[in-house]
Point group: C2
Chain length 315, copies 2
C-alpha cells in the first residue's frame, strides 16, 4: 500500500490541533509544584505522532461531524497513552532510558516524579472528559473557563465515553495487556497469549479512540458496529507493525533502541510466526479495517488512509 503525502499532512495538521488544545487543557508547567508539571509537559510534548487522537478525530469526521467535537476526548486519550509510556519505561517495568530520541521521564526527572507525573496525566484525562459539557467552573479551581465548550454533546454520552475509555485503559484492557507482556518476558508463550497481549496492551485504547471519537460525533448504532470492526483491526495491525519495526527499523527512525524486545526475550509476532507471515497478517488486517468502512462515504477517507499508514514502513 502506497502512502500518499496527504495522510502525512493530515496527521501533522491534526497533531498541531491536538498540541494546541492540550496546552490549553493542561495545568501550566510553571504551576506549583513545578517538577510534576514540567515532567507532564516534557513527556506529553516529546514529539509523539498523536496517532490515537488522529483516530478519534478522523472517526468523528467519518460519521459526518466536525472533528472539533472529539478534540477534548482525543486530548484525554493522548494523556492516557503518555502516562502508560512513562510508567512502562520505569526501571521496575521495561527499564528504558530513551524514548522518541530523548531521555525517558524518569531519566530526566527521577523515578518518584515520573511515577507521579504518570498518575497525574491519567487523572487529568478524566477531568478533561468530565468537564466537556460543563457550563461553568466547579470546586473553585477547575479548568480555566475559556476551555469549556458549550453543551455540544449530551451528558449521558460523555459518561459513556468516560466508562469506555476507563475500561479500555484498565486491568482488563491496556494494563492487563502490559501485565501479560511483563510476565511473558523470557518465556515461551502461546499464540493466544500473544494475541491477548497485543489486543489489550495497544488495541484496546486504539479501539476506544475510534469508538469514542465517533460517539462524540453523534454516531448511529450502525456506524458503531462498523467502526468497532475497523478499530479492532487497526489496533492489532499497529502492534504487529510495531513488532516488525522493532526487528527491522533503525534506531534513528524509531527514536529508541531497537531490537530491545528480542534482548528482553519479549514475545513478538515476528518471533512467533516469522517476519514474512507477520507482514502478511498486518497487511491483511489493514485491508480488513478499510473494507469495514464500505458503508461510509468520503468522510471516512482519513480513517482509510490511517489504516494503510499504520502498516507502512515510513510511519
Amino acid at each position: 500500500m502506497a502512502i500518499t503525502l496527504d495522510i502525512k499532512q493530515y496527521m501533522a495538521s491534526k497533531a498541531e490541533m491536538v498540541n494546541k488544545r492540550l496546552k490549553e487543557l493542561l495545568v501550566r508547567e510553571d504551576e506549583y509544584p513545578q517538577s510534576v508539571h514540567k515532567a507532564m509537559h516534557y513527556s506529553l510534548f516529546a514529539g509523539g505522532k498523536r496517532l490515537r487522537p488522529a483516530l478519534a478525530l478522523a472517526s468523528s469526521e467519518a460519521v459526518g461531524a466536525d472533528c472539533a467535537k472529539a478534540i477534548d476526548v482525543a486530548c484525554a486519550i493522548e494523556c492516557i497513552h503518555t502516562y502508560s509510556l512513562i510508567h512502562d519505561d520505569l526501571p521496575a517495568i521495561d527499564n528504558d532510558d530513551l524514548r522518541r530520541g530523548a531521555p525517558t521521564c524518569h531519566k530526566a526527572f527521577g523515578e518518584a516524579i515520573a511515577i507521579l507525573a504518570g498518575d497525574a496525566l491519567l487523572t487529568t484525562a478524566f477531568e478533561i472528559m468530565a468537564v466537556i459539557n460543563m457550563p461553568s467552573r466547579v470546586f473553585g479551581g477547575g479548568l480555566p473557563s475559556h476551555v469549556l465548550s458549550g453543551g455540544q454533546t449530551d451528558n449521558g454520552r460523555a459518561l459513556q465515553v468516560i466508562s469506555e475509555i476507563a475500561r479500555a485503559a484498565g486491568s482488563v484492557g491496556m494494563i492487563g495487556g502490559q501485565v501479560v507482556d511483563i510476565e511473558s518476558e523470557g518465556k515461551d508463550i502461546s499464540f493466544p497469549e500473544l494475541e491477548y497481549m497485543h489486543i489489550h496492551k495497544t488495541g484496546a485504547l486504539m479501539l476506544a479512540s475510534v469508538r469514542c471519537g465517533a460517539l462524540m460525533g453523534g454516531a448511529s448504532d450502525e456506524d458503531m458496529i462498523a467502526l468497532t470492526r475497523y478499530g479492532e483491526a487497526v489496533g492489532l495491525a499497529f502492534q504487529i507493525a510495531d513488532d516488525l519495526l522493532d526487528v527491522e527499523g533503525s534506531q534513528l527512525a524509531m527514536g529508541k533502541h531497537t531490537g530491545a524486545d528480542r534482548k528482553k526475550g519479549k514475545a513478538t509476532y515476528p518471533a512467533i510466526m516469522g517476519v514474512q507471515e507477520s507482514k502478511r497478517r498486518a497487511t491483511e488486517l489493514a485491508d480488513r479495517a478499510i473494507s469495514s468502512l464500505e458503508g461510509f462515504g468520503n468522510g471516512a477517507g482519513a480513517l482509510r488512509s490511517i489504516a494503510a499508514y499504520i502498516v507502512s514502513r515510513d510511519r
Copy 2:
C-alpha cells in the same frame, strides 16, 4: 472530646457496606491476568478503616438522603486512596515495606505489578463513577449489569462529581501534595509549605469525599458551602493527628513503623510547631468542623462524631 462507642459502630457498619459493594464493583481477583487483580484486592481489602467513604456516606445523610445514593462514589474514592498508598509506598517514593501490619503491595507482588495495580485502581475509580447512572452495559464487557443502579441522580451531577474528584486527586490536589512532601524531605520548609502539603496530600481528597457524598445526596448550594468548610477543617485536622500518631503512636496501633517521618527528615506539624501546639490546632480544627454544621439537624450527627473521632488517640 470523648469518643462514644457509637461512632466506632457507625464506622464499622459503613466499612462493611463499602467492602461488600467494592467486591461487587471490582473485577474479581481470579480474573485474567490474575496477578494484577490479586494485587488490587490485596491492597483494597487490607483492613483500611474506610474513613473517606464514611465521610461521603455521612455527608449524604447530613443532607437528608439515604447513604446508598453515595455508595458508589464512596467506593471509587477508596480505590483512589488505595492506589495512592500503593504508589507512595514504592521504593522510589517512601520505600515502606509495611502497611496496616502487612507487607506493602510491592513487597507482596513486586514493583511492576504494584505500579500497575495502583494505575488500575485509579482507572477503575473513574469507571465506577461513570456508570452510576448507566442503564445498561456498554463496550461488551462493562461492569456486571446487576451492579448498575437506576438513574438516582442526573448525569450532570455525576460528571461534576468525576471532575471534582479528578481535580482533588490530581497534580494540583493529592499528587501535588505528595510531590511537595517528597521534595521537602531532609529540608527546612516553611509553615505555608507544610500547610500546602497537608491540605493537598490528604485534605483535598477528604474534602472531595464530603462534597461529593453530599452532591450525590442532592445537597443544596447552601449545604455545600457549610460542608466545604467542614471538609476543609477535618482534612487538615486528620493530617495533623496523623503526624502526631507517627510521633507518639505505637507500632502496633499504627500497623506500620512509626517515627518513620522523623527518620526520613519529613516535615511534620509536631516537628515545626511542637506536639502541644499541634494537638491544640487539631482539636481547634475539629471544633471548627463541628460548628460549621450548626445549620444541620440530627442527620449530621455522624459527621460531627467523625470530626471528633479523627483527632482522638484511639482511631
